[in-house]
Amino acid sequence: MQVLIKIIQEHKYGQMLGMVLRIGLGLLFIYASLDKIWNPGLFAKSISNYRILPLPLLHISAIILPWLEFLCGLALILNKYPRAANAWIAGLLLVFIMAVISAMSRGLDFNCGCFNVNEATANLGFGKIAENIGLLLCAGFLELQFRTNQK
């Protein structure tokens, strides 16, 4: 860990990698939010497929979550409140990973509603979990960089 922090602090590529990850993650989250913002009803349906949230919370989640993704993505790109945005993104990714594992363990199979609420090809699976763990690692790297830059 110490070595990693040293690289992030001292190596120019460490800072550059941080910037690329910050903007990349931001763009990805904005992209992921657009279809959900446009189709809140279908996104609510995607959330209901997981059968985790109580039914009365479905609509309100489908209304707020895509905008949270959008704003956090924008905040990361603009480097405005980047740590707070990154913390939300990490939290959302963590919840999503747990939701996918929970749904898979119950034998549910459906479109994950990740990028496009109507896509038929992005069903749940270990690939989806790996993809999100990768993104979570990026968020972890960014948090580490925010912390070391603050010192």
Partner: protein, 173 residues
Amino acid sequence: MKSIPVLLQQMSLLALVSAVLGVSAQVVLPNGIGLKTELTIVSSDSGQVSIPTLSINPNGNTESASNISLRGAFEAHENGTAIFIDARSPEEFQKGHIQAAINMPVHAFMDSMAFLENLDFGTPIITYCDGEDCNASIDLAADLKLMGFSQVVFFFGGWLEWQAAGYPIETGS
């Protein structure tokens, strides 16, 4: 440690702005939805279940399908008055399904277009999936309704209720 409250403040601000934007957007968006999730009570022979109306009606379209009981479904089967469509996966379908049912996994709906286009829109259709733990029958019924079929009902008791009643089944594709 001083930075933690600042972080929480900024996170709260992001959440608050998202909520304001999200709620306001529903007024402007053509597909906007209400804050409250409307529930539909669906009854089957083994009780009543609440399901979100959005499963039936995802686009705010007024088309909606209704439920048929085990008895009603059996009568339609015996009299041959309706087509049974199984919304489960091909693997589940092969293991066993209602006799003479057609497999149409709800997520592969578009693959079935060639078959559907040859049917009369007035053909009575009964959709089903596993049972009360799945919504695929309702989603498929909604898709068929939106496509233009006028007599679509979903059998919410599904495969489990049909099988338990000892009604005609078959295996294979």
